[in-house]
C-alpha cells in the first residue's frame, strides 16, 4: 500500500512539474517588477557580493525600497549559476518550492488522516489554480509557504513520535519561512503561541523548549534587522504595507468630516473585513486569482469551483475525518489570513498562500468522506474537477500570457534583444521608464538591462544621476523630446505613446517597434541617422 502511495505521488509530482514548467519563460510573458529585482539581486550577489544598491550580503534587500526578505535571492544563487540570466534562472526555485509542497501535503494528509487523503490532497494541490499561478512566478511567499507546510508536518510528527529532532526541524523550517517572506514574521509567532497551547498536553515542555530555542536562534538575526529597519526607515516594509497606510486612508483620517469614534472604528474594523474576505465564496471559487485586468468569464478563484462541495463536506465532517487533528487543522485554516488581513490589498494578493494548505487538506478529507459513503458522487466530483481544470488551463495557459503583458512590464527584455546585435555602434542608449497603452506605468528598465547583460554588476554600482539614471552609456528616464539634446550615435527606446517630435525629428529614424503581448504598440526604437554612414 505504501509503495502504491509513493508511486501515485510520484506521478502527481511529475504531472504537476509539467504544469509548472511548461513554457515557464513565456508564461507569465516577462519577468515582473518584483521578479526582476530578486533576479538581479541574486545575480549581483553571486557576482560581486552586493545587491543592486551596493549593500553587501544584506539581511533585507532594499529592492524598490520595500526591503524584501532575503532567502529567495540567496537560495536562487546556485540556480542562477546553473541556468543563467533568464526566466528559468529565477523562476525554477518557486516551481521547486511548489513541488516540495505537493509532496509534504501528501505526507501531512497521510499523518492526519490516511494514505488516501494524502494522495487526494496532493492531487488537489497539483491542480490548484493559485498554486500553479504562484509557482510560475518567483514569489518569495511561495517559498515561505513551503517552509510553513514542512514545519507543520514536523509538528505533527513531533506530536506523534515525540522525538527532539522534529522539534529542531520544526524550529528550523518555521524560522526559514520568516527569512523567506514578510507575512511569516507575523504568522509564525501566532502559530507558535497557538500550537504550543494546543499541544501542551501531548508534547512535553522540554520538547517544546527545543523547538522554541531552535526557532529563536534561526529568526533572531532577521527579526533584529526587521525591527531595526522598521524603527529607522519609514519606508520599511511594516511601515508601508500596514492597512491604515493604504491608499486614501491617510486622507480619510486627516480630512474626513466623520467623528473620531467612527474613524477609530473604521480603523479597527478594516482588518476584520479583510479577514472575512479571505473566506468569501467569490475569492475562493470564482474570481480571486484575478487573472485578467477586467471581469471575464474564464477568471478563477483560488480553488477550482468543483471543489466547493468537498470543502463543505470536509468542514461539516472535519471531526470524524481528522479525529484528534481536527482542532489543529481548523486553527491552521483560521489563523492563516490573520496577518494578510492587516495589510492593504491583502485579499487579491499572494500574501496568503499558506491558506491553500489547510483548505486543501479539508477538501481532501471531504472527498475521502464522500468516497466512503457515496463513491459515485465522489467520482463525479473528480470528473468535474478535471473539466474545471481544463477550463482553467485554457484561461491560464492560453489567454493569460496575451492579456497580462503590462502586469509584467513586457517589452524591456525584447527591446534589449532588439538593440543587442548593434550595441557596440551606439555611444548612448536612452530607455524610457514608462510604458503601457497610455504610458501610465513606471518600470524598472535598468534592472532588465542589467540582468539580461547590457552592463556588468560592477557598472551598476557606479550608477549616478546624470539626467536620469545613468549607468555607463545607458540613460533610464522619462523622455521629453522638446528638452532632449542631440548626441550622435544614440538609440532611443521610448513608450509607444511618445513618438519623436520637435527639433530632433529630422536627426532620428524609427528602426523598430516592440509590440505588447496583446499586439498593441509598446515601445518605439529610434536611432540617429549618422549611424547609417
Amino acid at each position: 500500500m505504501k509503495k502504491l502511495f509513493w508511486l501515485i505521488l510520484m506521478v502527481i509530482v511529475i504531472f504537476s512539474a509539467y504544469l509548472r514548467l511548461v513554457d515557464l519563460d513565456k508564461n507569465p510573458p516577462h519577468l515582473g517588477n518584483d521578479e526582476i529585482s530578486i533576479a538581479y539581486d541574486s545575480y549581483s550577489i553571486r557576482m560581486i557580493g552586493k545587491d543592486e544598491h551596493g549593500h553587501s550580503w544584506p539581511l533585507s534587500f532594499q529592492s524598490h525600497n520595500d526591503y524584501k526578505a532575503p532567502l529567495y535571492a540567496y537560495l536562487n544563487i546556485p540556480i542562477n549559476y546553473i541556468l543563467g540570466n533568464n526566466e528559468y534562472g529565477v523562476r525554477v526555485l518557486s516551481v521547486l518550492a511548489s513541488l516540495v509542497s505537493i509532496v509534504f501535503i501528501a505526507l501531512l494528509g497521510k499523518e492526519m488522516g490516511n494514505l488516501g487523503i494524502g494522495i487526494v490532497a496532493a492531487f488537489l494541490l497539483g491542480l490548484n489554480p493559485k498554486n500553479i499561478f504562484a509557482s510560475r512566478i518567483s514569489f518569495e511567499s511561495n517559498l515561505a509557504a513551503m517552509f510553513v507546510l514542512v514545519g507543520f508536518w514536523c509538528l505533527v510528527k513531533l506530536w506523534k513520535e515525540k522525538r527532539n529532532i522534529y522539534g529542531v526541524l520544526l524550529g528550523l523550517f518555521w524560522g526559514l519561512s520568516v527569512w523567506a517572506y514578510h507575512t511569516e514574521r507575523g504568522l509564525i509567532p501566532i502559530m507558535v503561541i497557538v500550537f504550543s497551547l494546543l499541544s501542551r498536553k501531548n508534547i512535553s515542555i522540554r520538547k517544546l523548549v527545543v523547538f522554541w530555542t531552535t526557532l529563536l536562534v534561526v529568526v533572531l538575526p532577521i527579526f533584529y534587522d526587521f525591527i531595526n529597519l522598521t524603527l529607522t526607515n519609514s519606508n520599511g516594509r511594516a511601515n508601508t504595507q500596514i492597512w491604515f497606510k493604504g491608499p486614501g486612508s491617510e486622507d480619510f483620517y486627516n480630512n474626513s468630516n466623520v467623528g473620531l469614534v467612527k474613524k477609530i472604528l473604521v480603523l479597527v474594523l478594516g482588518p476584520i473585513h479583510n479577514y472575512l474576505a479571505h473566506f468569501s465564496f467569490d475569492n475562493n471559487f470564482t474570481s480571486g486569482t484575478n487573472l485578467f485586468n477586467q471581469r471575464e468569464p474564464l477568471d478563477v478563484g483560488w480553488f477550482l469551483l468543483a471543489t466547493l462541495p468537498i470543502l463543505i463536506v470536509g468542514l461539516v465532517n472535519v471531526k470524524n475525518i481528522f479525529g484528534k487533528w481536527w482542532k489543529g487543522l481548523i486553527v491552521f485554516w483560521l489563523v492563516c489570513p490573520v496577518i494578510p488581513a492587516l495589510t492593504f490589498g491583502g485579499v487579491a494578493s499572494v500574501r496568503n498562500l499558506v491558506f491553500l494548505f489547510p483548505t486543501i487538506l479539508i477538501m481532501a478529507g471531504g472527498w475521502w468522506n464522500l468516497y466512503k459513503k457515496y463513491g459515485m458522487v465522489a467520482k463525479v466530483i473528480v470528473f468535474l474537477i478535471l473539466i474545471n481544470f481544463i477550463v482553467f488551463s485554457r484561461a491560464y495557459y492560453v489567454f493569460y500570457p496575451i492579456t497580462s503583458g503590462n502586469n509584467f512590464q513586457y517589452g524591456y527584455k525584447q527591446a534589449w534583444e532588439f538593440i543587442k546585435p548593434n550595441i557596440d555602434k551606439y555611444e548612448r542608449v536612452v530607455v524610457e521608464d514608462r510604458f503601457g497603452e497610455f504610458g501610465q506605468f513606471t518600470g524598472v528598465p535598468h534592472l532588465y538591462f542589467g540582468y539580461f547583460g547590457a552592463f556588468t554588476s560592477e557598472e551598476m554600482q557606479l550608477r549616478h544621476d546624470g539626467g536620469g539614471l545613468a549607468i555607463g552609456k545607458y540613460r533610464f528616464k522619462y523622455v521629453d523630446w522638446n528638452k532632449e539634446v542631440y548626441f550622435p550615435k544614440t538609440v532611443y527606446i521610448v513608450s509607444a505613446i511618445n513618438p519623436i517630435v520637435g527639433h530632433l525629428r529630422d536627426k532620428f529614424k524609427e528602426v523598430g517597434m516592440i509590440r505588447n503581448t496583446d499586439f498593441k504598440q509598446q515601445f518605439l526604437i529610434y536611432e540617429t541617422k549618422d549611424l547609417d554612414n
Partner: protein
C-alpha cells in the same frame, strides 16, 4: 424576541435605506404563505415566480401587457460585452480544434459570471455589510437554532438562495434591492437567533456590537 429582532431589522433597513413598493410586499407575502404552508411541493410554482419577481425588483425584468422585457445589458448572462470577450476566446485559442472551440467558447460561459456575482452576495463580507456584525451574528445563531427543525431551515435557505441566484444576475449589484424579497426569512432567522442561549447569555456583547454597527452607518 420579535421586538428585538424587529428593532435590529428596522435599523438595518434604515441603513440600507430602501423601502420596496407595496405591491412587491403583498406578492411576496402571498408567496411566502404558500411556501411555508405547502412546502417543497409548491417549489415549481413559488420559486420561479420569486425568481422573476426579484428580477423585477432589481429592474432586470418587466411585463408590459403580454410582452416580457429583459434589461439584457444589465444581466450577467446576456451582456453583449461578455459575448465579445467569449468571441475573442474563440478566435484566439488556436491551439484547440476548431469544432471543439465552436462548442466550448459559447455564450454559456457567462454562467461563470452569474455564479461569481451570486457568490459575492452570499459571502460573509456582504452579509456583514447588509446586517452589520450583530445582525450577522444573530443570523448564524438563528441557523444554529433551526438545526433542530431542518425542514423549516431548508425552506428558509432555499428561499434565500433563490433570491441570491436571482440577484446574482445583476452586473452592478444594488445592495438595497438584492435582498428585499428575502426580508421575511432573514427576519425570522434573526428572531430565531434571539432565542438562542448564547444570545441570552451574551446579549450585552450583541448590544455593544449593535451600537458599533449603528455608529458605522
Amino acid at each position: 424576541m420579535i421586538v428585538v429582532s424587529g428593532i435590529i431589522l428596522g435599523v438595518f433597513w434604515w441603513r440600507v435605506g430602501y423601502v420596496p413598493e407595496i405591491q412587491w410586499i403583498f406578492l411576496c407575502l402571498l408567496l411566502w404563505v404558500i411556501w411555508m404552508k405547502w412546502g417543497f411541493k409548491t417549489a415549481i410554482l413559488v420559486l420561479p415566480i420569486l425568481f422573476f419577481l426579484n428580477l423585477q425588483v432589481n429592474s432586470l425584468f418587466g411585463i408590459d401587457g403580454w410582452k416580457m422585457n429583459f434589461n439584457l445589458e444589465k444581466i450577467n448572462l446576456t451582456n453583449p460585452a461578455y459575448f465579445k470577450i467569449i468571441d475573442r476566446y474563440r478566435y484566439d485559442d488556436v491551439g484547440m480544434p476548431y469544432r471543439l472551440r465552436m462548442v466550448f467558447y459559447q455564450n454559456w460561459q457567462t454562467v461563470f459570471l452569474w455564479i461569481d456575482s451570486t457568490f459575492k452576495i452570499l459571502s460573509i463580507g456582504h452579509w456583514v455589510r447588509l446586517l452589520g456584525f450583530s445582525g450577522f451574528g444573530l443570523l448564524i445563531l438563528g441557523i444554529k437554532n433551526l438545526l433542530n427543525d431542518k425542514k423549516r431551515l431548508w425552506l428558509y435557505l432555499v428561499w434565500i438562495l433563490t433570491v441570491a441566484f436571482s440577484s446574482g444576475m445583476v452586473i452592478l449589484l444594488d445592495t438595497k434591492k438584492a435582498w428585499t424579497l428575502a426580508t421575511i426569512p432573514i427576519v425570522l432567522l434573526i428572531s430565531e437567533g434571539v432565542k438562542n442561549d448564547r444570545f441570552k447569555k451574551y446579549g450585552w456583547v450583541f448590544l455593544l456590537v449593535f451600537i458599533v454597527d449603528v455608529i458605522l452607518k
